[in-house]
Amino acid sequence: MREKFIEFRNVSFRYGEEQPWVLENVSFEIYKDEWVAIIGHNGSGKSTIAKLMNGLLYPQQGEIIINGIQVTAETVWDVRKQVGMVFQNPDNQFVGTTVQDDVAFGMENRGVPREEMVRRIEEVLKAVRMEDYLLTEPHRLSGGQKQRIAIASVLAIKPQVLILDEATAMLDPRGRKEIMQTVSEIQERNEISLITITHDLQEVVQAERVIVMNKGHVWDEATPREVFAKKDELREIGLDVPFVAILADELKRNNMRLSNEPLNHEELLEELWTLHSKM
């Protein structure tokens, strides 16, 4: 049994008394060093979950336990030491005037000694492959590079969990690829739980587990492969099914016996060229 790290117990949340519930009776668990993807269409409550985990919002009902501590106004600063977060807009989370100042910001807030800061800045910039940009100003960086710096800034404070709240939504395909690659490298190297929040099914492929949100409820909790198999239902709750999954579906309908639910082009290709030898 893996160690529980984040636990939502019957959490309900709304932005105001008169407003509808954004989350209603949501419960789930996230374990140590696990990669979980939370997916849902706009307004499904997925971003609210991220803000609840970081104490930027508090639930009206239910409890959120992070590493044994309940998130309340008193414990919020302890919680934030363990939960790092990267937001959607690359520009609006860049605080420093240069890359090194921005990476230092979180450490400065926590009173990390200067020598330690310099050491960690070097270390985390290497981890996101931005070590050549130490003194670069934000307006000279691409969106993808800025997001990598945002990830580095979070890693510098050594959190136990990294939340990416639609961190790739505003990037071009290249930037998106950069971020996903950086993230999977970090997941492999460090002992850190990873929560990626997205509306793009293509991005959940690498995760170990997927939580599908719909209208403030947990709609499904399964592996990416199991989720991909429910194409029609996914489409009904407003998610775009990736091309590979649609293609695989059509092939099956035409009596091609694919043994596996392919997650990406490579897997589908593998299935297809070995198909004949299996028959």
């Binding site: 605080v95 910001f105 979180g106 404070i157």
Partner: protein
């Protein structure tokens, strides 16, 4: 446009003046501004002028940058000079033009006051030419440190300044984007009577303000998520250190001040 964007007047370089501690630069300039008013004869003015010119020379900043910084005040210098020529009536009459008598005292005083002006502007513009805005911010934060005792928000002020500096290029890029978007919808920023052109700025400013406020809100949230709780218990990555070269420069400057007080007439 982005690669060339330089905030303020800063001209990158690696001269002695560039490397000087920004606090030291501000202190010296502050003293210089006071001391300039004590000069009252040829020798004392010569010392100050020599100091200013040698300092300018050491910075190795191309002359055109310095002159560009001085353009707005040429008028003021010339105006002061002319005013003195007309108003002051001391010494002997030098020439008489169209009934106006120009006195020798007026000429000397006019020259002295204009020179004083020129030196003040030259030295203060050297500060912004050789120091990055962020260094100036750091220096101000450090120098105002004592004011924290009377609850003056020194840290907050410095943070505000540094965040503004960081967002200037971002907002400029945004302005550019919005003005292109509005131009593509038919807003004309460049031609037509002044009144129309001023009106055309409204569809530029409104989206800019809306997005600036949205940015501010998101930035505040991101800062909080990264553990920002105000200035208490914070450490700093950027640190200012007084080097021995800073002290030597200060001593050199003090020697000049002493020289000035020895040569000025009482």
């Amino acid at each position: 446009m982005n690669s060339m964007m330089i905030i303020g007047q800063y001209v990158p370089g690696n001269s002695l003046v560039h490397r000087l501690d920004p606090r030291m630069k501000i202190t010296i300039i502050f003293l210089f501004v006071i001391v300039v008013f004590f000069a009252n004869n040829l020798a004392s003015y010569s010392i100050l002028t020599a100091f200013a010119i040698i300092t300018t020379f050491i910075t190795r900043i191309p002359l055109r940058f310095i002159l560009k910084g001085l353009t707005p005040i040429w008028f003021l210098i010339v105006f002061t000079f002319v005013l003195h020529l007309i108003v002051t009536k001391e010494g002997t009459v030098l020439v008489e033009i169209l009934g106006f008598k120009i006195y020798s005292g007026a000429l000397i005083q006019g020259l002295a006051i204009s020179l004083r002006f020129f030196l003040l502007i030259l030295i203060t513009s050297l500060l912004t030419l050789t120091t990055t805005p962020i260094e100036i911010t750091d220096a101000i934060e450090d120098m105002l440190h004592g004011l924290k005792k009377i609850k003056f928000p020194v840290h907050e002020l410095a943070l505000m300044m540094s965040i503004s500096l960081r967002f200037i290029p971002t907002l400029l890029q945004e302005t550019d984007k919005i003005s292109k978007a509005q131009a593509s919808r038919g807003v004309d920023f460049r031609t037509g009577p002044i009144k129309e052109r001023i009106k055309a700025i409204v569809p530029l400013l409104v989206p800019l303000f809306v997005s600036a406020f949205k940015r501010a809100e998101e930035l505040a949230m991101a800062m909080e998520a990264r553990g920002y709780q105000g200035g208490e218990g914070r450490t700093k990555l950027r640190q200012l250190k007084i080097k021995s070269s800073d002290l030597i420069v200060l001593l050199f400057f003090l020697a000049i001040v002493v020289g000035l007080f020895l040569t000025r007439s009482y």
